[in-house]
């Protein structure tokens, strides 16, 4: 595996252990599991405000009860995650404006609009799935699995199977793609 960002990459086991420690700190001190997709659903409610109006958003069961659009612990955690990665990438000189990742380019070509359109569609599908399952790789995959939740281990296993099937269907033509 070529390591392009050797200076910016820490050992994945060390990073995993630190995320585990962060997780138990947030459980103990703030009574909050790590999660991300609820905050994005809250942000989607905020983005709907100009179109639906405050009354329209408040009339929606989901935004009224499950993902209220406001600045709270979860939405600030989302903002923090952006800022943390920004700080990490700038301080390790690995910040790079890039629209088309190399693996995508090798398989689907260098077109920027094509990649951005696919990312948009993929993003829509992933968040709908996350809300339907009531969690994402953070909320279910890490926070739920570490509590041995039945829902989270089901999510983890099915997500990986679905991802493997999708990845092989999209990228594994004659073994040429990906395995550079």
């Amino acid at each position: 595996m070529k390591n392009h960002l050797s200076s910016a990459r820490w050992n994945p086991y060390v990073v995993g252990a630190l995320i585990g420690v962060l997780s138990l700190i947030t459980f103990a001190l703030a009574d909050k599991p790590i999660g991300m997709s609820t905050a994005i659903a809250q942000a989607s409610g905020a983005c709907a405000l100009p179109f639906a109006g405050a009354d329209g958003v408040a009339a929606n069961t989901y935004w009224a009860k499950k993902a209220v659009p406001k600045w709270d612990y979860g939405t600030l955690f989302l903002l923090g995650s952006f800022l943390g990665a920004l700080g990490s990438s700038l301080s390790s000189r690995s910040f790079k404006l890039q629209a088309v990742p190399s693996l995508w380019r090798d398989r689907f070509g260098p077109s920027v609009p094509k990649r951005l359109a696919a990312a948009f569609i993929g993003g829509a599908v992933i968040l709908y799935g996350a809300r339907l399952a009531d969690g994402c790789t953070s909320g279910h995959g890490i926070s739920g699995s570490l509590q041995l939740a039945v829902s989270s281990w089901t999510f983890f296993i099915v997500l990986f199977l679905s991802g493997i099937v999708t990845a092989f269907a999209l990228f594994h033509r004659g073994g040429s793609a990906g395995a550079r």
């Binding site: 138990l24 690995s94 709908y128 399952a133 739920g144 939740a149 089901t154 991802g163 990906g178 395995a179």
Partner: protein
């Protein structure tokens, strides 16, 4: 019940969220999981960074939270096992994760690292959130109640003591790590430059 140590409340909770988020985003970036190639190659079984990070976090966090919970120092937060919704959602999530190339957390962090496709996908996630909110009444009536087992933990399913489950978790993680190490060693022998 409020756990004994949870002294971060009220408006301090907002600052704590921002701070914990910064640490999380920093770790995701340093772990390499804000990289499209790393995520997609995990599903192509060519790069195991994602599994290494997740399983280590689950073992360390799992043992830690279990111990804290045993001392009444932390609450569990279990999501309901609405099995139809969880399975359908996970299928969609897996498809979306490969096409997007990030998950919600790593996507937000990847925007911070300058990845413009992650930003386009963030707008997609906003659209997905709107779609879910608009369909929520139907989903809540037709999908969520199907095969809903409630807020169950694995230890609720079989009457082994808790420590047996955690020992199994550690053993499973060790097995996965050993298997991954073997695969990586075999590949390195065949592709010295890969």
């Amino acid at each position: 019940m409020t756990p004994l140590l949870a002294f971060i409340t009220g408006s301090n909770l907002l600052w704590a969220g921002l701070f914990f988020g910064i640490v999380f985003g920093w770790l995701l970036h340093r772990g390499g999981v804000t990289d499209y190639n790393v995520i997609v190659r995990q599903f192509l079984l060519q790069d195991f960074t994602v599994l290494k990070v997740m399983f280590t976090a689950i073992v360390v966090g799992g043992l830690g939270v279990w111990i804290l919970h045993g001392q009444d120092l932390a609450n569990f937060h279990i999501k309901p096992a609405a099995m139809l919704a969880v399975v359908l959602g996970a299928v969609l999530f897996g498809i979306g994760m490969v096409v997007y190339g990030y998950c919600p957390g790593t996507g937000v962090a990847a925007i911070g690292a300058g990845r413009l496709d992650a930003l386009a996908g963030f707008f997609g996630m906003i659209a997905g959130g709107v779609a879910y909110a608009l369909s929520y009444d139907w989903v809540a009536a037709r999908i969520l109640p199907v095969a809903d087992l409630g807020k169950k933990r694995l230890p609720d399913l079989a009457s082994f003591p808790e420590w047996v489950w955690y020992a199994g978790l550690v053993a499973m993680a060790a097995g996965v790590f050993a298997l991954v190490a073997r695969i990586e060693k075999t590949r390195a022998a065949f592709h010295p430059n890969a």
